[in-house]
Structure formats: C-alpha cells, structure tokens
Symmetry: C2
Subunit: 163 residues, 2 copies
Amino acid sequence: MGRLMEFWGFRRHMGRLWTILYLSPEPMTTTELAETLQLSSSAVSLSLGELVHWGAVRKTWRPGERKDFYQAESSVWKLVRRVYERRELNLIREAIEAFGDAQRQLDESRSQLGGEERRRVDYMHKRLSRLSAVSKAGERLVGLLVAGRMINPADLQSSEEEE
Amino acid sequence: MGRLMEFWGFRRHMGRLWTILYLSPEPMTTTELAETLQLSSSAVSLSLGELVHWGAVRKTWRPGERKDFYQAESSVWKLVRRVYERRELNLIREAIEAFGDAQRQLDESRSQLGGEERRRVDYMHKRLSRLSAVSKAGERLVGLLVAGRMINPADLQSSEEEE
DNA sequence: ACGTCTGTTCAAGAAAATTTGAACAAACTG
DNA sequence: CAGTTTGTTCAAATTTTCTTGAACAGACGT
C-alpha cells in the first residue's frame, strides 16, 4: 500500500500508516504506530495529520486515556472518490483554464502578425481547442465517477475526433 | 501540461516537450526543442526517448535531412489508455499479489499461535480479503476503461460492502 | 500553579531526484 | 577513410524532497 500510495502522489508513509490501522481491530496510538513502522514521532505526526485531512484516518478517544487513538476509514472506494473529487477534478479544471488563457493570449497577438506567423497561431489555436474538448470530456467523466454514475469512455474518444 | 504530466508520475519535461510538438504544425528537431524550452540536448534526448517509449511522440524523417524529426501522437485518449493499460493495471495486479502473499504468510503462522494472537491474525486475514476484493473490482474497472466499454462505479462500491 | 505527558512545528542534515557537460558512439559527407 | 554532425550515456553537481531531533505549545493531574 505504501508503494501504491506513493505512486498516487502521496507520501509513502501515509500508505503504510493507513494499512497498519486498517489491519488493526483496535484503534492505535501514535506511539504504537511509530514503533511498528520504526518512524520518528514527528514523521508519524506529519503523515497521520495528512491522512486525517484526507479523511483516511479518524481520531478517536478512549474514556480515561490521555493519548489520542486513530482508526482507519475502511471504505477504500470512499477514499478514492474523495481524492478524485478534491484533487483530480481541480487539476483538470486548472488545465482547462490554462488552455483558455493560452488561446486568449494568441488572440491578442494575432492581429499584429501576418502570413506565415498567423497561420501558425491559428493552428495552435485549433489544437488548444482540442485539448480543451478532451479535458472537458475528462472532467465530465471524473464527475460521473465521483457521483457513482455509469461512465462511457467512448465519450472521451469522440471528443477528439477530427471534424 | 508539464504540471499535469508531473502529477501523473512522469517527468515534467515530457509534458512540455509533448505540448510543443502537439502545437507545432510541422515535426521538429531536437535542436529546435532544446532552444524553445531552454534545455540541454541531453535532457531533450532523455525525455524524448521516454516519450517515444510511451508512444506519445513519433520519430519521422525527411528526405535529404540528416537530423531526426519528431511529432506528437495527437490522440490524448489513446495515450491515457496506453498508460492505464501498461502502468496502472500492473500496479493493481502487483498489489493483489502482495495481498495474497500476506495472507499466505498469516496462514503459516496461524497454527503456532493461540487465543488473542490468533484472533488478531484472523482479523487481518479478513481485512486483506476485502482489500483483494476492492483491488480486483478496480482491476476490472480499469480493464473496461482501457477496452472502451461502459463502466459502473457501483461495482466498486459493492465490492466492499459488509457481508 | 507546577510538572509531566502528548502532539506539532521547525530548521538542519540526509537521501533521492534531476540536470548538465563531457565523453562516447553511430551515421552520414566529401 | 577522415572529418562532421547528431544522438546517447554517464558520473558529477545541483536542486529538491524527506527525515529527524530539539524546541515549543497544550492539556491534564496532582
């Protein structure tokens, strides 16, 4: 799980910590976690905090106990969905914006150019439109995924068919 | 695109190079690319090579010209699909294997344990089964994506419903 | 209120990655 | 075949990211 998480753009330790908690029938303390994974307490604090931020781990208390206890959110699907919702969707939206900005910049310079250069700018403009179209199709697709609705990958394919 | 690619686990330069080529009506040489992006020739060579390996860029020639020319594969969907096929699917499969290995290791030690410890091992075993189930549902889902078939995210959800 | 226990933050050090220039290899030209 | 041009590989150097221990802050019990 550590490698998987790392690949997915998170800290490796986040995966390791979550797994330990997921496999434990009881909530655990930071001390136990640090011992199990041979990590310093600061490393545990950092990664655990991020896990809590992503909702992958929950803090719990025990009557009488002074230390915090942690337990894993056990629905992987819920977690995946949350990441796609918060992170991937944003990423796609930023990209779409960037493509639009680029096109506007091209529009501005276009009038001052002539012949060869203008044809080049027009070409770039057309390509950016296609990138936008694909991105928007991707955005819709991820949106459906997050909503748990059926997805048709053919939509993505057709979004960049030559006109 | 550089940031997007980086986020997706590739070199940033790969995204930048691909974009320049994608926006160019003509194939380009390594020299032009290095100039445009202010990169050393070795950096261009390295990242371009990887792009070619992933099928995101194609080498072409021009009669009479000594240098190699490169052009971008222009179907983004094709590229995404290839990455999921080659990389993400493998990753999931490795994870599934790892979960199985872990379970087998638990099976081995189980007989030598008693009471409390055995209950703990049984719990971990059950959790690993659930991770396997989710992973297999994910594998099927990505498989469908790659094949361009309809996907139902509800399958993932139901793969980890309490029994 | 004081001392102790817990968790977080920070800056310094360690580790990992990227980048580069130089050396090498391969292909073409005259 | 010698001399260019082009492309790749490698190790050193730089940059970036992680990790750690110490300092800090908060909460609790006595």
